[in-house]
Amino acid sequence: MINRQILAILRIDLAKTFFSKRGLWIYLLALSPVIPMVGHWLFGRADDHALSDDIRAFAGIFQFFYLRIVIFFGCVGIFMNLFRGEMLDKSLHYYMLAPVRREVLVAGKFVSGLVAAITIFCGSVIIQWVGIFAHYSPELIWGYMNSGNGWSHLASYVVAAALACIGYGAIFLWAGVRYKNPLFPAAAILVWEGLNGILPAMLKKVSIIYWLKSVCPISIPPPQTGRGGVWNLLLFDIDPAPPVMAIANLVLLAAFVVVWAALRARRLEISYGTE
């Protein structure tokens, strides 16, 4: 019974997320790193830089732009809309009037958001990967993929993108259930995640980005402030966690937050403000 209900929720919500005009910006956002990489493929010359330069460039773009900006805001758009967006559309009652436990509804909507987010953002990672390395000779590329760390790097990036969707998705789903205007908590989380580079070691771990960076195959230290002296003392660069621990922690955190959202959803009221 619950499986059928979750499948029904998936069917409705996936169609909305994938095919709605309102979600077009999420595709554009997800593909935004693809543009420079495809440009690099079309116009780049393999003889003026080494493969390792592109490997490092990909790692930097992925950690500092794709995870922190693209997936972050993409998840805001997908997961906050699951409840709050439908409240604004005055269509959330459609689900609430069915004999579906609120916990099942939250789980179904989270899974649907996750399927959409992972498809879009992990798909984009693969396109970016192709884009940045496509201008190299097939021998060099296949050598890197098969004999080097290519496949494991790609898998790590895909896993990191998926974990970002799980972690940020859970938090923004919760914010959408909990707050009438979830953009404020989203902004607070953005600031917190942005400050991660200058936080003390303990506080660094109270973030999504720290655990995501631990899954990334290449460590890119945060840029120095350039001011030197005392400013650089603010940068506490700590060792990444083992990837298995990072994955486990993120999944547990997401599960905890989704359960919290489900409990909160029991008291969720439809108040479109007509009376």
Partner: protein, 309 residues
């Protein structure tokens, strides 16, 4: 039975409804009141979309806090025109039924059954975004009845319907009511309330001011003399005879001089008196209460100003 016990709802410090005690029997019950009187709040609470600040609601012994069983019994068509985007009418009903966990065959059968009952078969494959207001009302009704609920709650279901669709929809309500369902309708079109309802619940400023059968409610408004229209051949003579009796407050000869409008504080006594007078040479064609309809009762209880809002 639908039972509300001491139900109140506050939005912060703003009153939604206050201390509502109601027992709604099977049949068609109309909820009437001006805008802001608390009708939608009350319906949303019965439908489980809002939770009462205080009090308890039960439908056939089930609580809205148990949605798995409750919403198999209750169907609700809201007044909101919000639909999940991109769906056709058929998908709207079909997807809703899938949330019940029915088998694909049952889902399809029930969806078509509801769509046919609301007369939307031909438009079913079109996107709801292209529907007229009346069609949207009907597809919401189809959704609400699709799982054959025993209790149907309909918020302003006749809004936007053309006369034919209105008549068909009222006939559908009657059919559902006669099948033993509870049909609770909110409406501000009072002559339709007379036409549709077995019972009426009148609300004003968050309070239930009257409930029951309209005639019964009217009988309890003792401060307003009952109006009775008498069609007869000698209205002036009848009026002069009636003024001799203290239960008659007022008698006005009708403009066509073929009838008389009488206001009396004691209807039963007046009817006996009228029988007596009729034996005295006045030919009476008909006698009918003139103010035991929803409009009159509404105006007596809630006031003319409110009723015209």
């Amino acid at each position: 039975m639908i039972v509300l016990e001491n139900v109140s709802k506050f939005y912060g410090e703003i009153l939604g409804v206050n201390k509502v005690n109601l027992t709604i029997p099977p049949g068609i019950t109309s909820l009437v009141g001006p805008n802001g009187s608390g009708k939608t709040t009350l319906m949303n609470m019965v439908a489980g979309l809002l939770q009462p600040t205080r009090g308890k609601i039960e439908v056939h012994g089930l609580s809205p806090l148990d949605p798995e069983r409750y919403f198999r019994t209750v169907g609700y068509a809201t007044q909101y025109d919000g639909f999940p985007s991109g769906l056709t009418g058929w998908q709207f009903v079909h997807c809703y039924l899938r949330l019940f966990g029915y088998s694909p065959a049952d889902t399809e059968r029930l969806a078509w059954e509801a769509i046919e009952r609301t007369g939307l078969r031909e438009a079913a494959e079109r996107k709801i975004a292209g529907y007229s207001k009346g069609m949207r009302q009907r597809i919401k009704l189809a959704q609400a009845i699709s799982h054959r609920p025993k209790v149907l709650i309909l918020d302003e279901p006749l809004n936007g319907l053309d006369p034919l669709a209105r008549a068909e929809t009222i006939a559908l309500f009657r059919q559902l009511g006669s099948e033993g369902s509870h049909v609770v309708i909110s409406s501000h079109i009072l002559h339709e309330v007379d036409l549709i309802s077995d019972h009426v619940v009148m609300m004003s400023q968050g309070y239930v001011v009257a409930e029951g059968q309209i005639k019964g409610v009217r009988d309890e408004i003792s401060e307003q003399p009952m109006q009775i229209l008498i069609r007869c051949d000698r209205p002036e003579h009848l009026a002069s005879r009636l003024f001799d009796h203290e239960q008659v407050v007022e008698a006005k000869v009708h403009a066509d001089r073929a009838g008389l409008l009488v206001r009396t504080r004691h209807a039963e006594g007046f009817y006996k008196l009228l029988n007596h007078i009729a034996l005295d040479g006045v030919t009476i064609e008909s006698v009918a209460p003139a103010d035991d309809d929803a409009q009159s009762v509404y105006e007596y209880l809630i006031g003319h100003e409110e009723s015209t809002k």
